[in-house]
């Protein structure tokens, strides 16, 4: 049983290395290893849903259990929102199963319903408390990069279905992340239906969320950022741009391809009509027409499969944003550090000048002294004292900021390396599956036209 109360009150600091509420170093090591080991078995991409495994710390802190998470259903609901107005939304059923090591059987341990906004809440929380982690993204809120056949309506069943898969993918990503999987709020998200929102809000993260957003968007100049982060930020910007472009063009390509296939359907009808006036040619024409119909209708499945590929690209489009946020966080911290150092240096300067009597730096006090006369030695002493205190404090703060900064860089870079590998693996997978789709489409095309050709030969 847990002795300490769950420590939900967290300072906005670089994430501590200890998992929430647990300080047992020995367990940590085990956790570390298990996490490492489990990572091998957990596929990085979302296509292996059936095998969705994650590692989760259980509440009672007894070792680790392998769990399966699935978002198995989606349901339309109506309810009242914050302004007491009726609204329709979709709720998703999250089922958690624990997998017994021995026989691989899984037992349903938890099952609850969540809506998209709750997922968003979870993610925002993670963003605030793990600024050094590239936090997995959610599937898009609204359908974008739509081609004409797809509906842009959030209630459209195809969209809901793809979103269900995306949400499951998100949970699997979090559950398979060595650090995020240990988070208590995440655990409660999966297990505590009622009251979860209140629990999250009690952490007070909302305030921090707002100031974080503000900081991320602010413009400032950093003098000495870690070059790697600068490059990485640049990369994430470029990645976002190129994937957006790719998705836009792909949607147009899909549109056009749809048109090509569908027009062939007209052959079916006209061949049929023509066959009616022909004697020997009739049968061949008629059956060829049938194949044209088959051809025309085959595009629907083909393009539906391709949407899956688009979703995989979209995930990394959004991941690029998360990557960028980590880089920005570093810049923020670095800027903060530089400002603190600058401030300290100026105070020291001031102190020195007061002590030696020379005025090199501009200070308001100095100016007023000049204008209104010298101050008394006692006054000066007092001021020096204050400054010395401030300098002391400042040096302490600078030290800790430095430490924080270095810790952040270390931890962030570790996660970035992990992310890079995951990205390379996942995107290669995505490209392979795309190529496989194209191959399948070509084979279907060859089949249909070969059949049609045979019909024509019998004309």
């Amino acid at each position: 049983m847990e002795q300490a109360p769950p420590d939900l009150e967290r300072q906005w600091q670089p994430a501590p290395l200890e998992p929430l509420g647990h300080t047992d170093a020995g367990l940590q090591a085990a956790v570390g290893e298990e996490a490492e080991g489990s990572r091998d078995e957990v596929p990085g991409d979302g296509t292996e849903h059936a095998l969705g495994l994650g590692v989760l710390m259980t509440e009672n802190n007894f070792g680790l259990k392998k769990i399966e998470i699935s978002v198995s259903e989606a349901e339309k609901r109506t309810g009242r929102n914050a302004m007491n107005m009726q609204e329709t939304y979709t709720a998703y059923l999250i089922e958690t199963r624990s997998v017994e090591h021995t026989d691989g059987q899984s037992v349903l341990t938890d099952s609850l319903w969540r809506r998209y906004s709750e997922f968003e809440l979870l993610r925002n929380y993670l963003l605030v408390y793990y600024p050094h982690i590239v936090v997995p993204p959610l599937p898009e809120k609204r359908a974008e990069f739509v081609w004409h056949k797809l509906s842009a309506d959030n209630m459209d069943p195809d969209f809901v279905e793809r979103r269900r898969i995306g949400l499951e993918n998100f949970l699997l990503r979090v559950a398979s992340h060595p650090i995020l999987c240990r988070d208590k709020i995440f655990y409660l998200f999966l297990t505590q239906e009622g009251n979860w929102k209140e629990t999250v809000n009690e952490t007070g993260f909302q305030l921090k969320a707002d100031s974080r957003l503000k900081a991320l968007n602010a413009t400032f100049r950093v003098k000495n950022p870690d070059k790697r982060f600068t490059e990485l930020k640049h990369y994430s910007d470029e990645l976002q741009s190129v994937i957006s472009h790719l998705l836009r063009v792909r949607a147009r390509v899909a549109d056009r391809l749809y048109g090509v296939y569908k027009v062939h359907g007209n052959y079916g009808r006209v061949f049929s009509e023509w066959s009616a006036i022909e004697k020997e040619m009739g049968d061949g024409l008629q059956s060829a027409g049938h194949h044209m119909d088959v051809y025309a209708s085959s595009i629907d499945d083909i393009l539906e499969d391709e949407e899956h590929y688009a979703d995989q690209l979209k995930e990394y489009l959004f991941y690029a944003e998360a990557l960028r946020a980590v880089c920005r966080k570093h810049e923020l911290m670095q800027y903060d550090l530089e400002m603190a150092a600058q401030d300290l240096a100026s105070k020291k300067q001031q102190c020195e000048e007061l002590a030696t009597g020379t005025v090199r730096t501009f200070s308001l006090k100095g100016m007023t002294t000049k204008l209104f006369g010298q101050e008394t030695p006692e006054q000066r002493e007092a001021r020096i004292k204050v400054l010395e205190e401030q300098i002391n404090e400042g040096e302490q703060q600078l030290k800790s900021k430095n430490l924080e900064g270095r810790e952040f860089v270390k931890n962030a870079w570790a996660d970035i390396e992990r992310f890079k590998e995951q990205k390379n693996h996942d995107l290669k997978e995505a490209l392979i599956s795309y190529a496989v789709m194209q191959i399948s489409m070509c084979k279907k095309g060859i089949q249909v036209w070969t059949n049609a050709k045979e019909c024509f030969s019998k004309m």
Partner: protein
Amino acid sequence: MELSFHSVLHLYQDQEMEDLILPNGGTPAGTSSPASSSSLLNRLQLDDDIDGETRDLFVTVDDPKKHVCTMETYITYRITTKSTRVEFDLPEYSVRRRYQDFDWLRNKLEESQPTHLIPPLPEKFVVKGVVDRFSEEFVETRRKALDKFLKRITDHPVLSFNEHFNVFLTAKDLNAYKRQGMALLSRVGESVKHVTGGYKLRSRPLEFAAIGDYLDTFALKLGTIDRIAQRIIKEEIEYLVELREYGPVYSTWSALEGELAEPLEGVSACIGNCSTALEELTDDMTEDFLPVLREYILYSDSMKSVLKKRDQVQAEYEAKLEAVALRKEDRPKVPADVEKCQDRMECFNADLKADMERWQSNKRQDFRQLLMGMADKNIQYYEKCLMAWESIIPLLQEKPEANGSPLVFIPWWSL
């Protein structure tokens, strides 16, 4: 400014395509420069023996050449004739003819053999838009059609012996012959020429009525197929435009990446290959498929006018017959001129019937070949794309280092 051959498509889009079920269209395609392609299938088309007859006349159209004169610029084609027929003084001839010579020939044939179905010529003018009459693709398409035209005449048991045809194939100076005026016309021809309209037909024999109906529906269906084919090409061209933008984006992405650079570049190249294959498909369809469809539409139009002439001949005969009956003379014998009319009509009917049968049989073969050709082109397109995608699978599956955790992948053969 030289525009691409594809703007020829605007020529065909005369009507609204109301009867087609079409997806929401996009913006018109930009012009693309088609690669020229030769269709072996077309060349070999009429070289088989029809009815197993031994051939004694071979005609080929090839070697287009541009002539630039002060007054005009035009293309001539070489006509090569090989024959053992007595009507030809030499066993082999080679002359040069231009489109207007073919046009002249066709008119002469229509005049001199009005009871027969004369094959169509490719269109004289390209009306809409500015098409380059001297582009390689246009000239090649025209050459094929002219070759087809002569071969159809060659295959015809009556037309191939026509005097004008002979002169067309053999004369050094065709213009001199043209200026000479009309040569000897067959009797039937002359008399039919002078049949004026204005006779009302009593009843059309069932078989000719059926032919008329058939041709009506046939032309209609061909027209629809023509519009569908054009629309498909248009959609394919627009698809091509998008593909040409799509492929390079993978290249751009590849430049940002390390491990993914080669796979992404591979995908880009692959899409490029598919784009090229698609372009070849649209070129082939435009150059080989559409013109033949168009030809058959023209063919059925000209056949309908021959049918009308036949109706006229029959009407004249019936009118004369009636006039005789009304005269109530005691002559048991039918007057000579009525007999002549009857002769004319019966000859016409016989010629037409024979030609129709021949036409049906040729049509069947032509369409079988045409549609099989269309299927073939599409198969080839998909085969090229298949090859491209299959060849990059190993590239995509390549692992950069031997160490590291085993990566999970979906083997391509599992799908």
